[in-house]
Amino acid sequence: MSSVLVVGAGPTGLAAARGLAKLGIKTILLEKDSELGGNPIKNHYHTLIPRKLKPSQVLGPYIREVQESKNVTLYLNTELVSCEGEVGNFKVGLSNGKTETVGAIVVATGFEHFDPKRKGELGYGLYPDVITNLELERMFSQEGKLYRPSNKQLPKRVAFVFCVGSRDRQLGVTNVHCCRYGCALSGLQGSEIREHYPDVDVFCYYMDVRTYGTWEYPFYWAPQEEYGVRYVRGRIAEITYSPADGRLRVKHEDTIVQRPAEVPMDLVVLVLGMEPSEGTKKVAKILGLKQDKDSRFLVPSDESGSNIVSNKEGIFIAGACKGPIDIESCLSEGEAAALEAAAVINTKVGV
């Protein structure tokens, strides 16, 4: 029986591999890092939106099933380097020197967090109290406390700076998209701060608050109404430091009041955008997949109604390699890709 190659073992790849294994299909799962789980595990996310579960709660069962399944062959620290052939008979070369033959391929190579050093005016790397939302997640999950890196003290005020590396033509045409998760995660992180440290004032600086669908209440209304997170309209254009009081200043125009503002803050959290990962760009080249000309995210084939089907027959694209997406949708897309791949290699699915 023909087997399936799954590239990437983040949420999407795990869901695809688990689905295929359950259908009794031999699956090769590639992961360039040394552990399974992708960004949420590697970067120690604290709480996942929208169900507010821990990464171990959501991904733990997937990781266990994949590790225990006799149908999955797992290659860690391994990348795809070449591919020849066509649907039903792809010959794929791997960085560990092996060559495998597979009937279909699922691409689940994901995204990368934006590097905030590229927005120099925001002072990341220059001022220790300017951190990323990833670092805040790590503070919560690894250290279990909130503090200013400069003096280890509890900040009196925390500012969230929305849309860093998103919706920004200044970075080139590559970052015009919205990260989709940033507003919601900030609402959640802000609520967590207010819940544990009610004396800390939290400010979210936004252009729009994009907490779509059912996220509106838990990640926008509740932070304001139940936790007292404050929302200020204006995009932070610069972050400076005042030696006189040792605090940061967030410079912006309050677009509702229509006045410039330079408000003191103790900790500033940059809400990072999403970009296609290096892996996604590499794999797109190797497999000849269509990419969005601006963002370089993968795009599905116009021939098919399904957004899982790529421009190459037998190759399926799922999850954050196509653009910003939440983790639960990644899991669903991984499962959908498993189904498509199973159908392609014409496996009879037993009940």
């Binding site: 209304w221 007292g228 404050r230 929302y231 509702i256 009041v257 006045r259 410039p260 503002a261 408000v263």
Partner: protein, 252 residues
């Protein structure tokens, strides 16, 4: 030093000094004039908290600035666009007190129609919240006792006195309190607003029912003005009510 385009700079931001020393350097002469920046340097969160933590002000946190309220507000729509309930909420919530103060001349103009509160998609009790903002401002001396509050007192006094209000007397009494001199008939000493120094709008208002010959309405009003009706047994009740209201601090 001259300021070009002076009209663009608000008067209160222009600082002119005969002698000026900055960081120990005498800059009198050419540099005796400073334009203060427009920058917001901080929020007054104590003010914001005072509003948000008062029982009537709690719902201020729910506002998401959609402006359904302002679009519905008759005062904003027909009177002055500087009266903007949505904007007041935003300013109060961040403690932008100087911005609120700039609007001290209009912020009390709410006519309590409650359209805002009934329509707000977020369940903000807009009218109540605005009153809390007013109270917080008055407490800090940021706003003088606003005319609407004075009117409320006048209204309350009228009700306390008679157990009811009488439209004509209330209106004319209030007009007099605003400093207008009304002609009074020599016998009953009742104001006759159709002649004398009464403001034009009042004369026009009084002429309306006469023009439309609404005789019943005219007679009723005239009768009420001459023989002020009282609620039955009001005198007894009034004392109890006044005492209770004083104890509650409601007459302040």
């Amino acid at each position: 030093m001259a300021i070009h385009e002076r009209s663009l700079v608000e008067q209160e931001r222009i600082l002119r000094k005969e002698r000026l020393v900055v960081d120990g350097v005498d800059v009198s002469g050419d540099w005796n004039l400073i334009i203060l920046p427009r920058v917001i340097e901080d929020y007054d969160l104590d003010f914001a908290k005072e509003v948000a933590e008062s029982p009537d002000g709690k719902t201020i946190t729910q506002c998401y600035q959609c402006s359904y309220c302002t679009a519905s507000c008759p005062v904003h729509n027909y009177w002055d666009d500087r009266y903007n309930p949505r904007h007041f909420i935003y300013l109060a919530r961040l403690g932008m007190v100087d911005e609120l103060q700039k609007r001290a001349d209009v912020i009390w103009r709410c006519v309590s129609c409650h359209k805002c509160t009934h329509r707000c998609p977020k369940g903000v009790l807009v009218e109540e919240v605005l009153k809390v903002i007013l109270r917080a401002m008055a407490k800090r001396g940021l706003i003088e006792e606003y005319p609407s509050k004075k009117f409320d007192k006048f209204f309350t006094e009228s009700v306390l006195e008679y157990g009811r209000i009488e439209d004509g007397e209330l209106l004319l009494g209030w007009v007099e309190k605003q400093g207008y001199k009304l002609f009074k008939d020599p016998i009953l000493k009742k104001p006759v607003p159709l002649i004398g120094d009464a403001p034009l709008w009042l004369k026009q208002l009084m002429l309306k029912p006469i023009k439309s010959m609404n005789v019943g309405f005219l007679m009723l009003n005239a009768k009420h003005m001459l023989f002020h009706p009282r609620t039955k047994n009001w005198n007894k009740f009034k004392q109890v009510l006044r005492k209770a209201m004083e104890e509650e601090g409601a007459l302040k």
